[in-house]
Symmetry: C2
């Protein structure tokens, strides 16, 4: 790596990821707890499906040759499906099998030793899309002169497909669909406690996302939990003042 110094957490996804920079969004909260340890890079593209995100990811994730020059991606979250699961009459729709194949393709781009972007230092987390509150979403769509373009059961089915891909690929799954569904007591109308418009998460929804990501890191990659990483540069009251500037040289985030 040439400069900028810190390795990164890359968040790949759609509007749910893009909105992570809202106050108390999951990107903001990750950036806060990983401050001075890992940078957070948000590659959430509102409205995108897995089909459109593949060429984006190919441009955002360094090839093996390029990896020596850029910060290492230590954690990669892949969170798509909310748009793939749109009704088949929309341009965003991607059939369920194709969606699953695209997720597997994204994962293998990073984890397959034969891939040009193979990156053994990168830990992948796969998130399932949250349930849709069609009662809320229908009202907003109709106010905009459109019609309902999401389906509760379809999103459930796409979330299950994502979980199956994670299991088949050996990648930990953050099963948001079920976590949010459990949180609202399996009552679709009560999803409004976690979704501000029926599709997008509010702060309570993002709290579940953040908590579940951290739990999944703790369980599967405890060495990457923020409490187990050291800051790249020392805390100010630990600087060896007799040895400046050498004491201020970049250090590994992994304690000895």
């Amino acid at each position: 790596m040439a400069a900028n110094v810190e390795d990164v957490i890359m968040l790949l996804g759609d509007s749910l990821t893009q909105g992570g920079w809202e106050p108390n969004g999951f990107a903001e909260r990750l950036a806060y707890v990983y401050n001075r340890k890992l940078d957070v890079i948000n590659r959430g593209m509102s409205g995108y499906n897995t089909e459109w995100i593949i060429p984006i990811f190919e441009q955002c994730f360094a090839t093996q040759h390029e990896q020596q020059h850029v910060p290492k991606v230590r954690i990669l979250t892949i969170w798509l499906g909310a748009n793939d699961a749109a009704t088949p009459d929309t341009s965003q729709h991607v059939p369920r099998d194709k969606y699953a194949a695209n997720l597997a393709k994204l994962i293998r781009m990073v984890r397959d030793p034969a891939s040009p972007r193979y990156s053994p230092a990168t830990k992948v987390l796969l998130l399932t899309p949250p349930p849709v509150n069609t009662h809320q979403w229908r009202v907003l769509r109709e106010q905009d002169g459109g019609s309902l373009d999401r389906n509760f059961e379809a999103t459930r089915s796409y979330a299950q497909a994502a979980s199956d891909v994670g299991a088949a690929e050996g990648v930990p799954v953050v099963d948001l669909w079920n976590k949010v569904w459990d949180a609202c007591g399996h009552v679709e109308e009560r999803l409004s406690e976690y979704l501000w418009d029926g599709l997008h998460l509010n702060q309570q929804g993002y709290a579940i996302v953040f908590d579940e990501i951290i739990k999944t890191i703790s369980t599967n990659f405890p060495e990457l939990h923020y409490d187990n990483l050291a800051p790249v540069f020392p805390l100010w009251d630990r600087i060896d003042l007799d040895n400046v500037p050498a004491a201020l040289t970049k250090r590994s985030i992994f304690p000895n």
Copy 2:
């Protein structure tokens, strides 16, 4: 640039910058409005003074040779002085003249064509440290068994020194000291409306920081205001669907 794709806003500073990742902190708000246009890289180091930050910056900011491989820093905020202005009995204290010289050195590292880190694409903003509420800070220090290590007039004087450096170097200054001082009606006790502990900004304080940074960008580098930049990848409803994946190729953030 090899990958990761977006150019960046780099925030260099002390705890006031580090805290920018708090909800509604200025880093969070910049990341939100510059989403899909510029990434935000927080290089705020709590407790650091200008003396300690120089070797840090040398490691974080690419040399000319390295710059081809890493994202360009389009905007660099330099915001130091809150610790330099600590009382002379502390390890954090840096004499005022040395503080001013260090700020000039940081600026010239980027702007002097003879510097190894010369980067004409980088626009520098210099922020003055905010005023200190010694009434608040003293209570907290004494609770911790310490004594008052900040001085209202010293911080004012350091803020003035930073403004003078900005003027001399031809770099726009975000004069937070005066903006916050004006906001509280020139009454030190009322600084508690903007500082949660007498030294560090709360959400109301960060709102001033964010607003003043955006105003300063609008005035001095309007081409870098977020409204004048295009997203690196197209909005989903503007994707030329007959031309995928070519339509999803990275584009300049500067509209033609």
